[in-house]
């Protein structure tokens, strides 16, 4: 391992497209050797963030380091320490699989051909077949193999499980866990499939509305969020020190997800420990209602009341 500092560190990182911000004010620190999940709704800026970490796009503002260096450094050595799986899984479609491997071997000094070969063999992907003749899932596997055979210290994966069947997902999770155990690889992966991630991740970054809503250890995430169930309309100001992420009222019952550093002792609420799924869902829901606020004209009062349940960070 080259350094003992964080694997990834960002500070006020942002990237602007022509008019809109793809990502703004993104700050978090990811220690080495973690498997981190980057979750958030579509368009939250997950891919934008990963592309900046991979050194493909330049940030418009803020700073970013991967293994202590700016991805802009672009030295061969710095490049060899990170691997990146793009969400489009770009491969040379007219190559044979073996040619893709040769591509990897010629361009990467630490290339592990044996690992690539073994991985493809397990998946029953023939090296003689052309990339364009493979199914979408198989192409995704080849792209993933290219990343793993690079033997990176930081593995950036954009939606790695998206095109995979449940068995392949399971398999991928095993490989990632193995890789972290064997080489101390740091993995940062974005996903919608939160349930899958919960089993292997130990770090969570929640992105929504182009901002980081939460970044921290999984245990910490689980520890500071609480699910409150109580009678409808009892949304009170008694929840001192707690931030309401989102709330749903169904019939006479209200369910709220709150973030609180201290235990909640309010007799009108039943308190539960939420799963990662529920926490992420709450943030996504808050984001959706925020988007609604922007899109639909509302009465001032309505808007005011909505704002009060929006997340503040």
């Amino acid at each position: 391992m080259s350094s003992s500092g964080p694997a990834v560190e960002t500070m006020g990182l942002g990237r602007r497209y022509r008019r809109t911000w793809g990502l703004r004010d993104c700050s978090f620190t990811l220690p080495q050797g973690r498997i981190a999940a980057l979750v958030g709704p579509n368009g939250a800026g997950k891919s934008t963030l990963l592309r900046m970490l991979a050194g493909i796009n330049a940030p418009s503002e803020g700073m970013v380091t991967v293994l202590g260096k700016s991805p802009r450094t672009q030295t061969a050595d710095a490049l060899s320490r990170t691997a990146y799986l793009d969400q489009d899984r770009p491969l040379y479609k007219d190559f044979r699989v073996e040619e893709m491997l040769r591509f990897g071997r010629e361009l990467n000094p630490r290339w592990d051909n044996e690992r690539a070969r073994r991985h493809l063999e397990e998946l029953r992907i023939s090296q003689a077949s052309r990339v364009k003749e493979l199914s979408g899932g198989q192409q995704a596997q080849v792209a993933l193999t290219m990343c793993l055979a690079k033997r990176p210290e930081v593995l950036l994966l954009d939606e790695p499980v998206a095109a995979l069947d449940p068995l392949a997902r399971e398999n991928l999770m095993q490989i990632l866990l193995q890789s972290v155990a064997d080489d101390g690889t740091t993995v940062l992966l974005s996903s919608h499939a939160v349930t899958d991630l919960a089993t292997i991740c130990d770090y969570v970054i929640i992105l929504s509305s182009s901002r980081v809503q939460f970044a921290g250890e999984l245990d910490h995430v689980l520890g500071v969020h609480r699910l409150l169930v109580g009678p409808a309309g009892s949304l009170s100001a008694t929840l001192d020190g707690a931030t309401v992420i989102s709330s749903i009222t169904a019939g006479r019952q209200s369910t709220m997800l709150v973030r609180a550093e201290q235990p909640i002792i309010d007799p009108s609420w039943e308190v539960f420990e939420p799963t990662l799924d529920e926490i992420v869902l709450a943030y996504l829901r808050a984001d959706a209602s925020a988007a609604e606020t922007q899109n639909e004209p509302m009465s001032r009062r309505e808007r005011k009341s909505r704002n009060s349940i929006r997340i503040v960070q």
Binding site: G55, I56, A76, D77, S80, P90, Y92, D94, E106
Partner: protein, 310 residues
């Protein structure tokens, strides 16, 4: 790395080779057919247009997809995240693409050299009444010698640069072709006549000259000037026509004693022209100019890719 650059470009190279092969075949047939036909040794407007554009088509076909096809398919994101810097990646692409383009262009230059000979565009003859059949004159100049390589490599770089900006190989090609033609015409019209100081031919007798040197040369300007001048008076251009009147009077002199009449009017013919002896100098300078432009475009492309603004 060389293998990678070659393998990525392979299908485009094969496609471009196919196009070139069709042209080569056409040239061979037309050369052999006209070569045997003694009475009609000439080219058509279509020949001229196609041959004028050929190095451009070839260069653009190989240059435009070099970066554009990668960015349109997203494979640049794969290439840029391997352990090779973008600079090195581009250098190899430029080298492999450029080397193949050069090799094809050299072959094309030889083929054109043979073809122009077969249809009698030789240094010293004006066949079929086509004045541009002399090697230093436009058209023949553009098809003979080493300029073909310069044009083609310029087109290659133009395709690369446009492809890097537009990111669509087809559009880069379509936009590149008119730019290529415009650049060629601009150089031919405004720069080439001045690469080497032109020669002057003055006929003091006022006689309409017909000498070997002028026949083999590229006449830039001619005018009937006062007998003491070899160029138009200050503030006047070659198109200046104060003497046209005297010229017309003399021309209509009975018995055609034009020379005598002109001498009486104190006029003489002056020709400004590029003689055949300047052929290789002009070829060399024009080739260097286009190669220089090409290198500049490749440099700008390198800066753009490195600058990350994409």
């Amino acid at each position: 790395m060389t293998w990678v650059a070659w393998r990525v470009q392979r299908s485009q190279i094969i496609a471009a080779m196919g196009v070139v092969l069709v042209f080569a075949l056409w040239l061979l047939i037309s050369g052999i057919v006209t070569g045997h036909n003694q009475t009609f040794k000439y080219w058509t407007d279509a020949d001229v247009f196609v041959l004028f554009a050929l190095p451009g088509v070839l260069g653009l076909a190989l240059g435009a997809p070099l970066i554009a096809s990668e960015s349109s398919l997203g494979t640049n994101r794969l290439a840029w995240t391997q352990s090779v810097t973008r600079t090195r990646w581009l250098k190899f692409k430029f080298l492999v693409g450029g080397a193949i383009t050069t090799a094809v262009l050299i072959a094309l230059a030889f083929l054109l050299r043979w073809w122009t000979g077969a249809i009698s565009i030789s240094p010293f003859t004006n066949s079929g009444g086509f004045t541009s059949a002399v090697r230093i004159q436009p058209i023949a100049f553009d098809l003979t010698g080493i300029v073909v390589v310069g044009y083609g490599l310029f087109a290659f770089s133009l395709g690369v640069a446009l492809g890097a900006v537009i990111r669509r190989p087809g559009w880069a090609f379509a936009l590149g072709l008119p730019i290529f033609v415009a650049a060629r015409l601009a150089v031919q019209e405004w720069l080439r006549p001045h690469f080497v100081a032109p020669a002057i031919f003055a006929n003091l007798g006022g006689q309409s000259p017909s000498t070997l040197a002028l026949d083999r040369g590229w006449i830039l300007h001619d005018a009937l000037l006062p007998a003491n001048r070899l160029s138009p008076p200050p503030g006047r251009t070659w198109a200046w026509s104060d003497f046209t009147k005297s010229y017309n009077i003399c021309r209509n002199t009975p018995n055609g004693d034009f020379a005598h009449c002109a001498a009486l009017s104190h006029l003489h013919f002056v020709f400004q022209y590029q003689p055949d002896s300047h052929y290789w100098a002009l070829q060399g300078i024009e080739t260097a100019l286009f190669l220089g432009l090409g290198l500049l475009l490749l440099g700008l492309t390198m800066m753009k890719i490195k600058s990350w603004r994409n």
